[in-house]
């Protein structure tokens, strides 16, 4: 079984900056650009806008029957790699060789139409994923049973619960039987029960001896399903190792150092005395310092500071802002009146003020933490509105089955009742 299923050599993908953020050009832009191009070309050679390599110089091989995990932070190039291997987009450099039929699950429910019934969508989605009609027909009952939607199979899917919708969408995809399966973060959607079901199906697929390439932020899923993993960072392959080792490396070394900001003595202005900030950190639920936290897990913001003399009425707090500078909230460690009385005067010493940000609260995106230490109407000791930035990953958050950006800095899990009147 040492045949090669996937061979990737020096693979690279270049995106022109401006293509991705602007999404599309207008004719006018192009005319303007064309008129300006000769001059720009004289000045700076080709491609004046520059470009980024989302993936660069990546080489690896996957044997038949192997289940390979792909891990890395957001923007590391994982999705780009999967898009190339599933032929959605072309590489800009290098080459890849794929032996066998590829099924890709970059998203569940691609092409589902809300007006069509469950039955109709199974056929449509199956055809989009590359199944033949005869193949869909033989698997039809199995798909319906897996999705547990027998009663609603002739109801338009727009009337389905999100759980039913997801189950059906995943069921179709899961019954695709390619020789090589490429799976992106599809398991990040849905409730715990659904995720368990998906993981179970994935391990079945893996046991059947298929070749699987599996991308996830869910380290426990990666550990459970794969024996070996590759780690991508900034578009490059950093490590290929047995999964446990790769996950450890990813969690510990180099990759999570950013979720912390420290202050040296000479960085703190003299007016701050006797308050002296030492560090501010973002820690995940497992108390590891992280640049990226999951929106579905609680995380803590810890402020470490030194008081060189006692301060009366001190409050140490944080501002949370979006990258665009909108405030999300401000909170102080003595907001609670009891706490305020208890710490009326803080003696000199070293302190740690920690606050827990609850799960299911922040939306995905990058946020900025500001630090404030003051005594109300007496003195502001220290303020840094841009002390630290961190990223919130919304995998598993409410509404993630619609792959769209949600406006607003918070993404709470709210209870909805839907009734018919």
């Amino acid at each position: 079984m040492d045949e090669i299923a996937i061979r990737v050599e020096d693979l690279g993908k270049q995106y022109r900056i401006g293509v991705t953020p602007e999404r599309y050009r207008t004719l006018r832009d192009n005319l303007v650009q064309a008129a300006a191009a000769p001059f720009q070309a004289l000045r700076s050679g080709r491609d004046p806008n520059g470009s980024i390599w989302a993936l660069q110089g990546v080489s690896f091989e996957v044997r038949k029957g192997q289940v390979l995990g792909v891990i890395g932070r957001n923007g590391a190039g994982k999705s780009t790699l999967l898009k190339i291997l599933s032929r959605v987009t072309e590489p800009s450099a290098g080459y890849a060789e794929i032996h066998g039929r590829v099924g890709s699950l970059l998203e569940v429910g691609t092409g589902f139409h809300p007006e069509l019934t469950g039955r109709e969508n199974i056929y449509l989605n199956g055809a989009i994923l590359g199944m033949r009609r005869a193949e869909i027909e033989t698997k039809f009952d199995e798909i319906v049973a897996f999705a547990d939607v027998e009663k609603f199979i002739d109801t338009p899917v727009k009337r389905y619960s999100s759980g039913m919708y997801l189950r059906l969408a995943f069921a179709v995809a899961a019954h695709l039987e390619p020789e090589i399966l490429v799976v992106d973060e599809v398991l990040a959607v849905g409730d715990a029960e659904f995720q368990r079901k998906c993981l179970g199906k994935m391990s079945d697929v893996a046991e059947q001896g298929r070749t699987v390439l599996f991308v996830s932020h869910n380290m426990s899923a990666i550990l459970r399903l794969t024996d070996e993993a590759i780690l991508l960072d900034k578009g490059r392959l950093v490590l290929r190792a047995p999964t446990a080792q790769a996950v450890d490396y990813y969690m510990a070394a180099g990759f999570s150092q950013v979720g912390e900001r420290t202050w040296d003595a000479d960085e703190v202005p003299a007016e701050a005395a006797p308050f002296r900030p030492l560090a501010i950190r973002v820690c995940d639920a497992g108390n590891r310092v992280m640049d990226t936290v999951r929106s579905t897990d609680p995380f803590t913001v810890a402020v470490e500071y030194q008081l060189d003399a006692p301060i009366t009425g001190l409050r140490v707090g944080i501002y949370l802002m979006t990258m665009r500078g909108e405030y999300v909230f401000t909170s102080f460690d003595t907001d609670d009146p009891e706490q305020y009385e208890r710490f009326g005067t803080r003696p000199a010493g070293r302190y740690l003020s920690e606050c827990t940000i609850p799960a299911d609260f922040l939306n995905e995106g990058r946020y900025v933490l500001g630090l404030n230490a003051s005594a109300f109407r007496v003195k502001r000791f220290f303020q840094d509105e841009h002390a630290l930035a961190f990223t919130v990953d919304a995998a598993g958050a409410p509404g993630m089955h619609w792959p769209e950006a949600r406006p607003g800095p918070v993404r709470p899990q709210l209870y909805w009742r839907i009734g018919v009147r």
Binding site: G100, T110, Y123
Partner: protein, 283 residues
């Protein structure tokens, strides 16, 4: 183990992915492999259209019929436009049928890549499937509207000529033209969203340069072949000739139209294939 799996898979598919440059091959075999998807997407568009609209399939009939009524009152009645000795209602309706297929196919195909962008960025399939299936959807509407035409022919006591067998070929010519133009527009629409605004305007202009409310016999003889550079000229005049027996066979005009239509289609396919590789990154 390797032996048995090899035996089950005598012809294993090997796909090589590498950057491509310049003009590529059309790779129509791949399109054939995905013929079921073409069918399903066409079926989806029809089903959704008929489910979502109150009048459903009646729209396929109402549009040409209402247009015919208005044209008959204003062009046939008030302006007294010549209609090759055929009653004006049926003269214009016969032209409105292929025109309807063409304009709908062109509009739908032109927008198809952008409206299906979710699929394009997530799954591989030959991208040609998308504009192709949106063109085919119009044929069903055509068939509904055609039933009305048969009724009108019975009412006006018009017997189709022996050349009626040409109709499917003429319909094919209309589809080829629409697909050809649709391929150009859809690929351009991915890059320049201006195309979305150009399409309605383009079909409106195209309507007037096609002999629908008037006859091509109004065009001076020496200009007719130039006039037939618009592939829809040949289609419309061919329809009238085969069904209503209007004058001489428009053979040369149909021939010119067919050549142009094929040229547009082939160039459109090559352009589409060339642009195809950037669709997922740009759409």
């Amino acid at each position: 183990m390797a032996q048995t799996s090899l035996a089950q898979n005598p012809r294993e598919e090997v796909i090589i992915l590498r950057p491509s440059r310049g003009w590529g091959a059309l790779n129509l075999g791949d399109l054939w492999k995905y013929r079921e998807l073409i069918y399903f997407l066409t079926w989806r568009d029809l089903k959704v259209r008929y489910k979502q609209t109150a009048l459903g399939a009646a729209w396929a009939i109402l549009q040409p019929v209402l247009s015919m009524v208005v044209f008959t009152i204003f062009f046939g009645g008030l302006l007294n436009v010549s209609s090759d000795n055929v009653p004006y209602p049926i003269f214009s309706y016969t032209a409105l049928l292929p025109w309807g297929v063409f304009s709908k196919a062109l509009t739908d195909a032109g927008r198809s890549l952008v409206t299906n962008r979710a699929m394009i960025t997530k799954v591989y399939f030959p991208r040609l499937v998308i504009p192709l299936s949106s063109v085919l959807g119009g044929v069903v509407d055509f068939l509904f509207a055609f039933v009305v035409l048969l009724g009108m022919m019975w009412y006006f006591q018009i017997v189709p000529t022996a050349s009626v067998w040409m109709l499917p070929l003429l319909l094919l010519l209309a589809l080829i033209s629409a697909l050809g133009v649709g391929l150009w527009l859809s690929a351009l629409n991915v890059i320049y969203r201006d195309i979305g605004y150009i399409i309605p305007f383009l079909t409106q202009l195209w309507f007037y340069i096609t002999p629908i409310v008037y006859s091509s016999s109004e065009v001076p003889e020496k200009w007719r072949l130039v006039y037939a550079l618009n592939p829809m000229t040949g289609v419309v005049e061919g329809f009238r000739w085969a069904l209503l027996n209007t004058g001489t066979a428009p053979g040369p005009m149909v021939a010119v139209s067919a050549v142009i239509a094929v040229l547009i289609l082939v160039s459109g396919m090559f352009y589409f294939r060339r642009m195809e590789r950037t669709f997922a990154d740009m759409v």
